[in-house]
Amino acid sequence: MAPYPASDADYLKDKTRRDLLNLLEGVRGKKNLVLSQDLAGSIGLFVKFSLLQEYGVDRVFLLENTNVDSSQRNVVFLVHAEKSRQVRAVAEQIKRLQRNGNVEHEFSIFWVPRRTLVSNSILEEAGIIGDVNIAELPLYFVPLEQDVLSLELDDSFGDLYLHKDSGCAFLAAKALMDIQQRYGYFPRIIGKGDNARRLADLLLRMRKELDAEESSGLADLAARGLLPSASIESLVIIDREVDFGTPLLTQLTYEGLIDETVGIKHNQADVDTAVVGPTSVPQAQESSKAPQPTPKQGQKRKIQLDASDQLFSQLRDANFAIVGDILNKVARRLESDYETRHAAKSTTELREFVNKLPTYQLEHQSLRVHTNLAEEIMRNTRSDIFRKILGVQQSYAAGADPTDQHEAIDELIARDVPLTTILRLLCLESCMSGGLRPKDLEHFKRQVVQAYGYQHILTFNALEKMELLQPRSSAATLLLPSTSSQTGSKTNYNYLRKNLHLVVEEVSEQDPSDIAYVYSGFAPLSIRLVQCVLQKPYMLSLIRGGATGATPSPASTASPGWLGFEDVVKSARGSTFSIVQKGDDKAVRARQTLSGNNATKTVYVFFLGGITFTEIAALRFLAAQEAPRRKIVICTTSILNGNRMMDAAIEKGTFAKTE
């Protein structure tokens, strides 16, 4: 197995693009492409529309719009096979086209990420399985950034915790197997949470099956199967369930706040043109747009938010408090750069300046966009309501008496702030203090259904099922550190707050020394857990000294799992595990001597159930501290924030008459 020089992100991007184009090439002539909504964004991340056109794609339709027409003989569907609703939609549309068209269509379906038995039987039921060409596009991880791989399964949060459907864990396992097949086995799998355990078990099982499948009947054991990887240190799996609290807080990094206010999907944000100006930029942003039909309203503009925008990479992980400063600095630098044109005397100097002009212009555009965006966000963050919400959140996070905040929540309800906000606050309280008092819960239920409609009875049922909002069963057991015999069924924030030092009082947003800067003083539990694995000395000094001054020593030695934190970690919900994947010792040693011990090792951190931008920022902060000894690759099922968590539960129907 030759090591691949390219990063995972580049490799995946390249491979998926090639796979897709090969499939398209296989359909002769011009074709119409039908995409499901959720795939359109993902596909847009690695193929430009113009490239699709080169491969004969005439028009692109969205599956959800059910408007694909007979303008081309070839119709290609690119749809998730795991979602039976979409599969049914495909079957229906094919039948519709077959019925009413006078064109004899040639149908192809590319199932993402694999052809499923269920999709087969649905097509069979519809009686069209013989009329379509079926292929697979194995799209598992979508690289969002060089260090972020996402499965982009938007429903994964609801599936996992509301419907208890662990399908995304299976897909995650498949995706991780792909990495293992490229680099060799994760030498160690460390994780927290029941679903994480499940994912690890799946990985172990798949490895066993792979061994059974791929290997030969040869007696020589070394020649077959995979070995533990030499370039990977470990895989850390964190179940979202372990730390529901963190994503419920309002994210305070720049990217996090954009996600909270306008929403970021597939690295793009739909921003009002009133805020960022009309789409006048023909390069950069536009060309990489997803292949989507032209927006009808014309009032929204897609802003590409990724590392291709230099300014954004500078801003994204910073606390919003200092974004203004950075923007000012950049503006001033740009101006002074511009001024150099006066200083240019010789023609060569002038030519140099002209050569740089396009970069200046690009920077200028990006500066304008981000200034406007930051101002818009600022308008929001300055508002009375926002500050009130933040106040409530921070008091919960700090562990103050939650009942003090109830009045504020009542007021917010009466002032008709969005339902998601209210629910986030209630869930936050429930998570942080082990449930609401039954009396309070009843009170808020009544308040909410009166204010937002009785259909939210269902919303509350869903939230309870997800264990996000619960009555406090017996307060006493929860406030004590759980006894070492049992693993907690709930995360005990009160205990962990102290023992993992979640609240950091004086945090400098300007020059942060701890990950707590991302929430202006609250360190995400999920990341603290990762630190327990990767930065043991730092965590120990934090807990012992309680001082924030100690910087993590980069010389932290190899991490044998949870060692040293077993007891603390037990207070978080779900099972705790650390599995060593053994291989043939001799081969491992041989590899080690070959590759040398001081090479950079990669740590994969997988967030099952979603990750927030703030957590990504915090992980990048860790990665910067660990470089160059370690590289952290962040994997997740989807990008999450509190609103999306609530959306999974909120009932969308109303009692209004439907037309």
Partner: protein
């Protein structure tokens, strides 16, 4: 045995040489009258299928032989299997490159025989083939095209999931000959067909039939070269033309001087055409030069991509172009370094010092010479010359200081394999190039199909290729043929395969099940390590619960869903529920799918499980989906009835809320009737209803509803404030402001009114905010633009500093006023 002359049977054809290598002798018994048979040969030296040509008369011998059959032979004439044929007239007989035999009958039925021993699958061509009948078929390595009697063409390009597809319709007319271009060599990436109709030729692809505008038809033969670049045609006058495949240019013409149309026209590699009659073969090279071969009895031509196999009763020969490596070494009078190197071997054996001399002479080009000898060894069929050439290479590289011997080792390995399979017992007449293209894995597959397990295992061990498939095939075969009892077979198989990794017991079990040995199948299945693999078979065997458990074990929720789908349609509901009850993953999946597709099932499930809240939730969502109000109310009623008996606190609350919800709907209906001419209130939340009432000036009604629903005062006050501000009802707000106390304080009034832009009214509320600090109040005044009032506030609190600040903001008379206050406060000295 004396070594054969390496130059034997060389034939010069223009610039290059062709040679005919005899591979096997005494191929067929004499009673097989080859001239009366249709012969189809699998590519890469594979098996031969013989079927008696019914159009020719034959001697009646006995009942046995007169029965129609398809016989499968190896190239060396070893009889492999006989397929009794009573399925109608065969219109197409061909092979895929996986050595699957395809038999197409006139009515469009396709039988695909795999594994050489009579196992088959079948499908129908459809598309009118029953009606019109199949006339003929042409094959390529992965598919075929059938020509119907109405000139329609049907292509099948994948045998695993056959999808017969019509090609573009072709014009009427007599098809005199036709041939296909495999998809790999066409622009359309689909198979294309050349159809000689009347005078001309049409090129047909899936979308159109293009007339190539030829005049010299009707063409009696058309044949496309292996790489798809050239087409060989036999014109009406019986001449052979070679043209480019786009028919733009003609390369050569040859007159066979025979009035009989040749039986077959095939390509020998990409440069020469072979035309054959019953007992005569012409090999036509570029520019119309030709070599002729005559035979005593019937000869059959079997095309390969690098040559042709010539088959007679006595011999199996391989006619191919002499590789330039071989040519440079063996050509008469060759002085190439490689040739010299080969000569040195003779000298070396004679212990002549000239050997060294020779080596020194070619020293500079020795590495190339060694390479060449290695390559040439691959081209030889005779082990004597293979050894000779390898010995030369070995000698050569021993002289060299640095030489990478990988290729040498590789070649010896390959030649060993080739020698083993070319043995007449096995009878695979495969050339080196064909072996390279076929790959060792496929070669082993072919051995397995011939039940040559030992050789297959030896080769796979020798080449370090996984051997699991061989074992599985062996075991499946064992299951099929053994007559001993199940336990013994299972024990034998497990014992034999123990410790062999990668064995798919599922396949063996499937074979056992297909043989009707279900018990054996279950036993074997227990040895399968991959849970997922067991599921389909278990379902077939009706071991439903085990199948479900195995599916869950695999963690693949597609598999679980599939099993559930299967079970749902099969078992009664009660036992279905019982099955999923103890399996959380299964019940979660059932719930999820049922929620989207089958709410009745969901209700039953919740009823069975005694989950009243969930059950009523389903009804509530149904109520939301109903369009008419009475239906909505009815569903809500049902929903709350479901929870009637429970005393659980959450249930009680939910029930209470549900009845409130119905109550609100009724109130809203009344409001809609009274106040609005269309549905305006229905479906709003309670808060929104009251807000809208106040905003539209029906404050009284709002208040009534507030008390009806016991809405907290605070909420009501907030709603009224926001509604009045939105209505810009300043008078009413002022009126409200006259009350003594507000449950939400007065600050919100100030903020909201100020936000709406009425500074004057906002200012009224500043003094009422008694619990605020002076600074705040000063700020509030300032926001209203009342600097003087702000000053007074500060003055009262005796804050000079604040006043000083205010002074900078003030202008005109206000500034003098502030000045005055400052002066008053300042101690006079």
């Amino acid at each position: 045995m004396a070594p054969s002359n390496p130059l034997a049977n060389w034939e010069r054809l223009g610039d290059s040489f062709y040679r005919k290598v005899s591979i096997y002798d005494a191929v067929f018994d004499d009673d097989v009258e080859l001239e009366n048979y249709i012969v189809a040969g699998a590519p890469y030296g594979g098996a031969l299928a013989l079927h008696r040509d019914d159009s020719k008369p034959h001697r009646f011998r006995d009942a046995q032989t007169s029965k129609s059959s398809i016989d499968i032979y190896s190239c060396s004439g070893k009889h492999i299997d006989r397929i009794q044929w009573e399925h109608g007239i065969i219109r197409g007989l061909g092979w895929s490159d996986k050595e699957e035999l395809l038999v197409i009958t006139e009515d469009g039925t396709v039988r695909r025989y795999f594994g050489l021993h009579g196992d088959f699958t079948s499908f129908s061509l459809g598309n009118g083939s029953e009606e019109y009948g199949v006339r003929a078929c042409r094959f390529w390595n992965a598919g075929f095209v059938a020509l119907l009697s109405n000139n329609q063409l049907i292509a099948v390009s994948n045998y695993d999931e056959p999808r017969p597809k019509l090609l573009a319709p072709c014009p009427e007319g007599e098809v005199s000959s036709w041939s296909l271009i495999p998809p790999a060599h066409t622009l359309s990436r689909s198979v294309e067909v050349l159809l000689a109709v009347d005078q001309t030729i049409y090129q047909v692809d899936p979308t159109e039939a293009e007339d190539k505008g030829q005049q010299n038809g009707p063409f009696k033969h058309a044949s496309v070269s292996p790489a798809g670049r050239f087409v060989a045609l036999i014109t009406a006058e019986g001449k052979v033309w070679v043209v480019s495949s786009d028919f733009q240019s003609k390369y050569s013409e040859y007159d066979p001087e025979s009035r009989v149309t040749p039986r077959t026209v095939d390509w020998c590699g990409d440069d020469a055409v072979v035309i054959a009659w019953e007992d005569e073969v012409h090999l036509i090279g570029p520019n119309g030069v030709a070599a002729r071969y005559y035979y005593d009895d019937a000869v059959h031509v079997i095309p390969e991509f690098d040559g042709v196999r010539l088959l007679t009763n006595d011999t199996c020969e391989f006619l191919h172009k002499v590789n330039h490596v071989t040519e440079t070494i063996f050509r008469l009078g060759s002085t190439s370094p490689a040739s010299v190197l080969l000569d040195s071997i003779d000298l070396l054996e004679k212990k002549s010092p000239k050997a060294d001399e020779n080596i020194q002479r070619i020293r500079s080009s020795l590495p190339e010479a060694v390479d060449m000898c290695i390559k040439a060894a691959g081209q030889e069929f005779d082990p004597y010359w293979q050894k000779r050439l390898l010995k030369a290479a070995s000698f050569g590289k021993s002289v060299l200081e640095l030489y990478n011997s990988d290729e040498f080792v590789d070649m010896t390995e390959k030649l060993r394999v080739l020698k083993a399979v070319r043995d007449y017992h096995i009878g695979l007449a495969i050339s080196y190039e064909q072996y390279m293209r076929l790959t060792p894995e496929k070669l082993i597959e072919r051995l397995v199909n011939r039940h040559e397990y030992l050789l297959a295992i030896r080769i796979s061990e020798y080449l370090q290729i996984p051997a699991d498939k061989i074992y599985v095939h062996w075991a499946s075969q064992k299951v099929k043929v053994s007559t001993v009892d199940d336990e013994a077979v299972c024990k034998l198989i497990v014992q034999r395969l123990e410790g062999k990794p990668g064995i798919s017991f599922e396949l063996i079990a499937q074979a056992a099940y297909d043989e009707g040995r279900a018990h054996l199948a279950t036993q074997l299945l227990n040895h399968e390590p991959r849970a997922g693999k067991q599921v389909p078979l278990l379902l077939n065997m009706e071991e439903d619960e085990i199948a479900l458990d195995k599916a869950i074990e695999s963690g693949d929720n597609d598999l679980v869903s599939y099993v559930l789908l299967h079970l749902r349609s099969k078992v009664p509901l009660a036992s279905f529920f019982r099955m999923i009850n103890t399996r959380p993953m299964a019940s979660a999946l059932v719930e999820t799918t049922a929620r989207a597709e089958d709410t009745e099932l969901l209700k039953d499930l919740y009823y069975q499980d005694d989950r009243p809240i969930d059950g009523s939730s389903v009804l509530v969502s149904e109520a939301l989906n109903e369009t008419e109000l009475p239906r909505k109310l009815e569903k809500l009623h049902l929903a709350s009835r479901l929870m009637a008996d429970s005393k659980d606190a959450t249930v009680v609350l939910q029930q209470k809320l549900l009845s409130e919800s119905s109550q609100l709907l009724k109130v809203q209906e009344a409001l809609d009737k009274d106040l609005a001419d269309r549905s305006e209130f229905l479906g709003l939340s309670l808060n929104e209803t009251i807000y809208r009432l106040i905003r539209s000036g029906y404050g009284k009604r709002g208040q009534k509803i507030q008390s009806e629903f016991k809405m907290p005062e605070k909420t009501y006050w907030w709603l009224r404030l926001r509604a009045l501000v939105a209505k810009r009802d300043w008078g009413e707000l002022e009126e409200v402001g006259k009350s003594r106390k507000s449950p939400i304080g007065w600050e919100p009034f100030y903020n909201e009114i100020l936000g709406a832009g009425n500074t004057k009214l906002a200012s009224i509320f500043v003094p009422k905010c008694t619990n605020l600090s002076v600074e705040d109040k000063v700020e509030m005044w300032v926001k209203c633009g009342m600097i003087v009032k702000a000053g007074e506030e500060a003055f009262r609190a005796k804050q000079v500093n604040t006043l000083e600040l205010l002074r900078t903001r003030a202008s005109g008379p206000a500034s003098t006023e502030i000045e005055r206050m400052i002066n008053q406060l300042r101690p006079r000295n």
